[in-house]
Symmetry: C2
DNA sequence: TTAAAACTTGACCAGTCGGTAAAAACTCAA
DNA sequence: TTGAGTTTTTACCGACTGGTCAAGTTTTAA
């Protein structure tokens, strides 16, 4: 499997209003279903039902199951990585990291499906986005690792490995969406109490930032 | 789906030598396959082939696919949680955490299949081990969270939330097995260099422990 | 108004997969 | 050696699922 462009509808390559609407409806439904059941665990019928249309109709917009999957991934990837893009080399390091972590936690809470979709894809060897990981993602991370390394060499951060720091931030923030059931099993229904998200952010921030500040 | 006992072979409930061997062969094969493809993504034929026997023969030992899956999970769970059990309330807090983190990282590197198996199960809502999570696991974590809380109140650790600390340790250590492809895509083949595992351990340890030490 | 293009659907097909049936092959204690 | 119990295999079934087809309905541009 490999990342590929969205298959258009027949003959003409113009995108009609109906196409625009239905593609979006399908991709929204697909995200919901794929993120819960994974690629193999998802049936086209499930997506079609959630999208409120028949299977052949759905297949009119996306010729194969993989096309839907690749499109959902593509759509969500950019949004998911934007916060890292915004890590500002000129800002205050601790403040920048605080912003980044807060935002990632916020995304995890607000859109856990996206996180789970990736987690599942990567867990299964990233068949559809391997190339993306090795090019775009690597480039972005290398860039930001450089930023962090400079912060360190300027004495603004403790001498930490930037890559492992980034991995730790990813792992920790996404844990709360990917392993939601486990978190719930252990913390019980306090997870649903109003202030929980803020408490979590507070705890995670102080843990990571303390490990990163100069002493 | 729910956790269930291993289905024995027919009539007599005595476990023969052949049964013992074949059950183990099957469970080893099953761990390999399930951890890569997940429950739905795995076919009984795949497991049977890896185990070197025919599908009906495999089904002679485990009546249904779910039984194999449940058995593999059950078998691996205990081993996976043992290090947390060994967190010693009487030891030096930072040293105990160092040991725990090191051991988890070591397990992630040595037996990534186990980690991936759980990650996959939990990611999909933990249908087979929900009950385990809510009872055994919760009890264990509550216990150890208490230990950490006491360390904090004795002034031996910075004032951190014990649950979020545990989550962070889990998330970070398992990241290296669960998201192996992503780590590889970003770090390249340095991952396979001899000292890599030690470097990672060093980086992760200093990050987490710095966040935890009293200042 | 109209006809071409776009959209939708019911019927269906072929491959896959979990699981069964029944009989053959093997093991082992007496 | 023998036969009861255990293990293995061949053949097969029915449900599911990804995807196709052809015919119908709706939309849209002229």
């Amino acid at each position: 499997m490999d990342m590929m462009a969205t298959a258009g509808a027949e003959k003409n390559d113009r995108t009609t209003r109906i196409q625009e609407i239905n593609r979006k409806v399908i991709l929204d439904a697909a995200l919901e279903v794929f993120s819960v059941y994974g690629f193999r665990g998802t049936t086209i019928d499930q997506i079609a039902e959630k999208a409120g249309m028949s299977k052949p109709n759905l297949l009119y917009y996306f010729k194969r199951k993989q096309d839907i999957y690749a499109s959902v991934l593509e759509e969500t990837l950019e949004e998911w990585l934007r916060p890292l893009h915004e890590l500002n080399p000129l800002g205050d390091p601790v403040e920048e990291l605080r912003r980044y972590i807060s935002f990632k936690l916020h995304m995890s809470a607000k859109k856990p499906e996206a996180s789970r979709l990736f987690a599942n894809e990567i867990l299964h060897g990233a068949p559809a986005i391997q190339n993306f990981l090795k090019t775009s993602l690597k480039k972005l991370v290398d860039e930001k690792a450089d930023v962090i390394r400079q912060w360190v060499s300027q004495g603004k951060l403790a001498p930490i490995d930037p890559y492992h720091l980034i991995f730790m931030i990813w792992a920790t923030t996404q844990h709360y969406s990917d392993f939601d059931v486990q978190v719930r099993a252990i913390l019980g229904n306090q997870v649903d109490r109003p202030g929980f998200h803020e408490q979590t952010a507070q705890a995670v921030l102080s843990l990571i930032l303390n490990g990163v500040k100069v002493r």
